[in-house]
């Protein structure tokens, strides 16, 4: 599979690679120069959408709880309960998705730091999931974005749980991964939350229990807060009808988990996405870094709704080129990025959600079983001609 993608890509000379990087740098500079009121308005509208969707969701779930009470007395209002409950869970799920993706993920990248708004600052922002923003800044902003798809450096490759690429060593445990992947999708926020705790190191005795306890204290605190909010406090406000509220919150969290899992897996695990050996990043040039981001990322085709709901990770390639540029600019940058990639003979990996996620699922199933990487070692650059 990986060899296919290499065939579509022209090998660049070192000089071409520099020009490729320079063109992308120039695109970045052109975009940053025009940041202003439009982008400020956009992100504040996203904040508004999150707040209103959450409020509507909570209110509808309370209304459903009351309708549920009436239902016990009069079986004719059963339909009302289900409608209110479903709308409430959906609306809350939507609010949580927006908070997680278009707001949290992008703000934590520091994309809107230039606004000078202390409530939209990447260093201090926290989001409505069990993972702490602090750990995310390390595992995602630094590790994943600097070492995208580099084996041994980017923990996002299979999250230490799944074998997505043939280059990962096969173990019998992976035979279970189609089932594990489904459970992982349902509990994705928990996976993200414990990613930086490196439980594997503790399991193998490379970290003491004391160290682990110290490291996990903020995560456990955040988990407690999140659990208390969605499963104790809000349900308790509904008194005897707490159950519909609690279940609605559970469904909303589940919707958000599955959706973010799907989007994120489509970003780097499609058929044509590549992984790279560690040697790749030694003395890496800017152009090479860009090329690696391109080869390791894949986009999703779709309109405005897809862009907003995916936190503009539908433009995963643009996001990986320019992680600190406001995401609402990716769609217009994509036109130029595509043209630049075409000029340098580089494949621009994009597709519908259905085809991209189909490829991800195939990888999860295929590499549950032993598999071998293609023999053609794909170096990104043309070997220097011997002098």
């Amino acid at each position: 599979m990986a060899s296919l993608s290499s065939m579509k890509n022209r090998k660049l000379t070192a000089e071409e690679l520099d020009r490729f990087g320079a063109e992308l740098d120039a695109l970045r500079a052109r975009t940053v120069a025009t940041l202003g009121a439009r982008d400020a308005r956009y992100i504040r509208n996203v904040v508004k959408a999150v707040r209103y969707a959450n409020l509507a969701g909570r209110a509808l779930l309370f209304a459903a709880a009351i309708a549920g009470g009436l239902w016990l007395a009069d079986s004719a209002v059963g339909w009302l309960f289900w409608v209110l409950w479903a709308l409430g869970a959906l609306s809350l799920g939507l609010g949580k998705i927006l908070d997680n993706m278009e707001l949290g993920h992008n703000v934590i990248h520091g994309q809107y730091d230039w606004l000078g708004d202390p409530q939209l600052n990447g260093r201090t922002y926290d989001w409505d999931i069990v993972a702490t923003a602090e750990n995310w800044r390390h595992t995602h902003n630094f590790r994943h974005h600097t070492y995208t798809n580099v084996r041994g450096l980017d923990d996002d490759i299979g999250y230490g749980l799944l074998r997505i690429f043939p280059e990962q060593k096969w173990r019998p445990f992976y035979l279970l991964q189609p089932a594990i992947a489904v459970v992982f999708a349902l509990y994705f926020q928990w996976g993200v939350a414990i990613q930086n705790l490196k439980l594997g190191r503790w399991w193998h005795g490379k970290m003491t229990t004391r160290q682990l306890r110290h490291k996990s204290a903020p995560v456990v605190r955040k988990m407690g807060r999140q659990l208390a909010k969605d499963y104790v406090i809000y349900p308790a406000l509904a008194g005897p009808f707490f159950l519909p509220v609690m279940l609605g919150n559970l469904v909303a969290n589940g919707l958000r988990n599955v959706w973010t899992y799907v989007i994120i897996f489509c970003g780097h695990f499609t058929a044509n996405a590549e992984t790279f050996p560690k040697e790749c990043v030694k003395n890496e040039s800017r152009g090479h870094w860009y090329l690696r981001q391109l080869r390791g990322s894949s986009n999703l085709r779709g309109g405005f709704l897809m862009n907003v709901l995916s936190g503009n990770l539908s433009h995963q390639i643009e996001h990986h080129f320019f992680p600190d540029v406001p995401a609402n600019r990716y769609a217009e940058m994509a036109r130029e990025v595509r043209a630049i990639c075409a000029r340098y003979g580089q494949h621009y990996n994009t597709g519908t959600l259905l085809t991209q996620f189909g490829q991800v699922c195939w990888r999860i199933v295929r590499h549950a079983f032993p598999s071998r990487p293609p023999r053609t070692a794909s170096s990104l650059v043309q070997a220097e001609a011997a002098a």
């Binding site: 740098d25 500079a29 202003g36 009121a37 982008d39 400020a40 308005r41 504040r44 904040v47 508004k48 707040r51 990248h109 520091g110 730091d113 230039w114 606004l115 000078g116 708004d117 202390p118 409530q119 600052n121 990447g122 260093r123 926290d126 800044r137 390390h138 902003n141 630094f142 974005h145 600097t146 807060r225 909010k229 406090i233 800017r286 870094w289 992680p323 600190d324």
Partner: protein
């Protein structure tokens, strides 16, 4: 000057402490602002409630702070965070009065050529607009029971903190001998003059002089010329007995210091630094670290991250190429160069990434 916005340190009430773990301040602020524009969980905000002409090129703005404003003393300054085209810009302004009975905060803003915030506050900001407030700061304040003789030297905008001191002493019925020498280029630029003259007439212990550098003196309390020995001796009496406070542009404060620091009973000064005119990339600059209180000499050309590490500091950092935002850090004064593009950024308060910016002028960082 510390440009960070921090909530007031007052101890919150019992109810607030009880529900604090359940409240996300940004969510609370979002909904509270629907009810009242300056209601927040803990951020000090203020609403513009009045605007008055102060001179030919200055206006006085009155702000009504919310309950999280922790108060100030006469002579102190405050950072105003003003939203212009959706972007928060921060500038320091002096409060021109001691705490008032109506709780309003007066700020006098002079239009500065090319000044984004001053122009906005002068002509664009409307009554009802909301600004963010930093905590009051500054050391040019009076003791609880002032005594002896005081000499205040103001030049241009330097009058703004000093007029607050005059007003405070006047409210105490002038318990000390007070002299205010106020330099402006032309009479029309001077602020507060009518009030200062009225106070001088009402309080025999208060002497006020308006000194003009580009116009001839006309009134009895006016004189002409830049600050020098002769003017000081003529208008300030016995310098050795004076407790001096000076405020104005850097050059003015430096001259005042030369003339008075070794002769007066005490000397305190604050200078407004002018924006940089030319920027070079050689040599070294002073890097002030506000949290640790250290000042380092760092080379202009190097990235701030490298420069800090050269001094043995280890600020949080990650990718070292400007993408991961781990080394992002608040800057409260000075200009930096964005190394990848070479562009200069002069905005005094903004977040910057240490790994891809170098110092262009003396800097203050929130480290």
């Amino acid at each position: 000057m510390n440009a960070q916005f921090r909530p007031s340190s007052r101890r919150p009430g019992a109810l607030k402490r009880l529900i604090r773990p359940l409240v996300k301040p940004d969510v609370f602020d979002f909904w509270a602002s629907h009810l009242h524009r300056t209601w927040t969980w803990e951020r000090p905000l203020a609403r513009l409630v009045a605007r008055e002409v102060a001179s030919a090129d200055a206006v006085t703005l009155l702000f009504k702070p919310n309950r999280h404003w922790a108060g100030h003393r006469a002579g102190q300054h405050v950072n105003l965070g003003v939203d212009i085209d959706g972007v928060r810009l921060t500038r320091s302004y002096s409060l021109t009065a001691p705490p008032r009975a109506d709780g309003l905060l007066p700020v006098t803003v002079k239009a500065i050529e090319g000044g984004k915030v001053s122009r906005h506050l002068q002509s664009v900001a409307r009554i009802g607009d909301v600004v963010e407030l930093g905590p009051a700061f500054g050391d040019m304040t009076l003791p609880a029971s002032p005594a002896g003789a005081w000499l205040l030297l103001a030049a241009g905008s330097g009058i703004t903190p000093l007029v607050a001191l005059v007003r405070e002493l006047a409210a105490q019925d002038m318990p000390v001998d007070l002299t205010l020498l106020y330099w402006v280029r032309r009479r029309a630029e001077a602020c507060f003059v009518d009030e200062l003259r009225t106070l001088a007439a009402a309080h025999p212990r208060f002497r006020f002089r308006l000194l003009l550098t580009r116009e001839d003196a006309a009134a009895a309390d006016e004189a002409q010329g830049r600050i020098d020995d002769a003017l000081l001796s003529a208008h300030a009496g016995d310098l050795a007995a004076q407790q001096v406070m000076a405020c104005g542009p850097g050059g003015f404060v430096a001259r005042a210091r030369d003339l008075l620091a070794s002769r007066a009973a005490s000397f305190r000064a604050e200078a407004f630094t002018a924006p940089p005119v030319t920027v070079v990339d050689e040599g070294e600059v002073d890097l002030r670290l506000l949290r640790s209180g250290r000042t380092l000499r760092v080379p202009r050309g190097a990235s701030l991250l490298d420069a800090l590490e050269q001094h043995g500091l280890k600020p949080a950092s990650g990718c070292r190429m400007g993408i991961c935002n781990t080394c992002a850090c608040g800057k409260s004064a000075g200009s930096v160069r964005h190394l990848p593009s070479g562009a200069l950024a002069h905005e005094p308060t903004q977040a910057l990434k240490l790994c891809i910016h170098s110092a262009a002028t003396d800097l203050e960082l929130d480290l």
